[in-house]
Amino acid sequence: MMRFRGQRGFTLIELMTASAAVGIIMLAGGTFMLRALAWHDEVSGKIEMNRHARLTYELWAYGGMAATNGDDATKYLYGFRGRKEAPDDDDLRSSTGALQYVSNDLTLTPDRFATMTVDCKATDDPIPACTGSNDKTVTGWLGEDVELDAEGSSLGQGWVTVRFTITNPYQAQRATAPAQFSDTYQTVFAFNRQEDDPS
């Protein structure tokens, strides 16, 4: 005959202690996982903004090439360094925040994303392009109008100081701290063209 001996179940206090310990671990783990997702968003957003800042700088510095001919019968869009004067502020950013560059009567609009609607809460919230509590449609990274300040005309060759804001609207909509998804960069470009710009 089979006999059971010495077997005892868990006591209530043991179960409660174990449950509490496991609960604390799961709570900490769950919180950590959610926070890790937020960290991932922040890090990837900053990397994207940085990448776009480089792309923007390179387009403005070196220019680009279009598919059709411009006013000087070439396909070249001249970068700031290849110009005599600064371009018009309005030629650098579309109404939806996309980077655009106009030179030689040609226009490049690189690196746009799918159109998205940002639910603005107030001016500059959650993105700099918000002007109030209305929706804002965006397709690009430039969060504000580009600031250009041309100087150096007294030397015969000028330069332009450039200040631009890069925003990641997708991340800004989801973030608890949207300011983390906008950043401002500045630089200076010297003009090296002697004759008038083709325009």
């Binding site: 077997q7 174990a18 671990i25 900490a28 900053k46 100087e151 060759q157 100081t161 401002t184 960069y185």
Partner: protein, 239 residues
């Protein structure tokens, strides 16, 4: 005994408390996890979680440093372009830069050049002077160069903003070396004197941008670890 044999032996061994039905032996006492087991597991998991958390914190800090470095690179490029214009079109290369010394030991020269206290009226006019000795003016204007003027001009230092919104600025200095490229020492491609009269030499400019510095009560305060961006170009008097 090999590891494989150990595994096989463990697989063949009945689990603790199992009944041998043929012999009618009683079951061994069964024990669940003890509190110390759970506590140990909690400690191990906590260490794991803290480790992963530290990874994210490190990643975030490094990305922030990357963003700051990108800004410093753009500013360095810009400052070199602006400096080149002054060298190329004025007598700045002959008379303008102030020689400074006393920089901390590093891979960079300890004797470097910085901007004078002002570019007007010798080198610029009409509001083109971007140099200021006023920390208040510098604090209110992003593209300015701030020259922190000292009693001994050799101790002057110059600074630029690399991220004004974050209050981060960089120390700006450069060295210049005469170069005489042999195909260009005679004829129409001769390098002119930086005074604008007669022949001279072109120069290689190496610009140093060191950061981060912060403006505290009108004085620059260096960060605990300085990073640097170095850029070079060749300048020659054109007009």
């Amino acid at each position: 005994m090999t590891i494989a044999r150990l595994i096989v032996k463990n697989l063949q061994r009945p689990p603790p408390g199992a009944t041998n039905a043929a012999s009618g032996q009683s079951l061994q006492p069964q024990r669940g996890f003890m509190l110390i087991d759970i506590m140990s597991a909690a400690v191990v998991l906590s260490i794991f979680i803290v480790g992963i958390g530290a990874f994210w914190i490190t990643a975030d800090r490094q990305v922030n440093e990357l963003v700051l470095r990108q800004k410093a690179v753009l500013v360095a490029n810009g400052e070199l372009e602006r400096l080149s214009v002054i060298y190329n079109h004025t007598s700045f290369g002959a008379l303008g830069p102030v020689t400074t010394t006393g920089y901390e030991a590093s891979v960079f020269p300890t004797t470097r050049l910085v901007y004078p206290n002002s570019l007007d009226p010798t080198y610029t006019s009409g509001g083109d002077d971007y140099v200021t000795t006023s920390s208040a003016t510098f604090a209110g204007s992003e593209p300015k160069v701030w020259v922190r003027s000292q009693l001994l001009s050799s101790l002057n230092r110059s600074y630029v903003w690399i991220s004004k919104s974050e209050g981060v600025m960089a120390r700006l200095s450069w060295v210049s070396t005469d170069i005489s490229p042999s195909p260009c020492t005679t004829g129409s491609c001769v390098c002119r004197s930086f005074l604008g009269i007669g022949t001279g030499s072109c120069r290689r400019i190496s610009l140093f941008v060191e950061y981060p510095y912060r403006l505290v009560s009108g004085a620059p305060v260096a960060g605990s670890r300085l990073e640097s961006v170095t850029l070079s170009t060749i300048v020659g008097r054109r007009s």
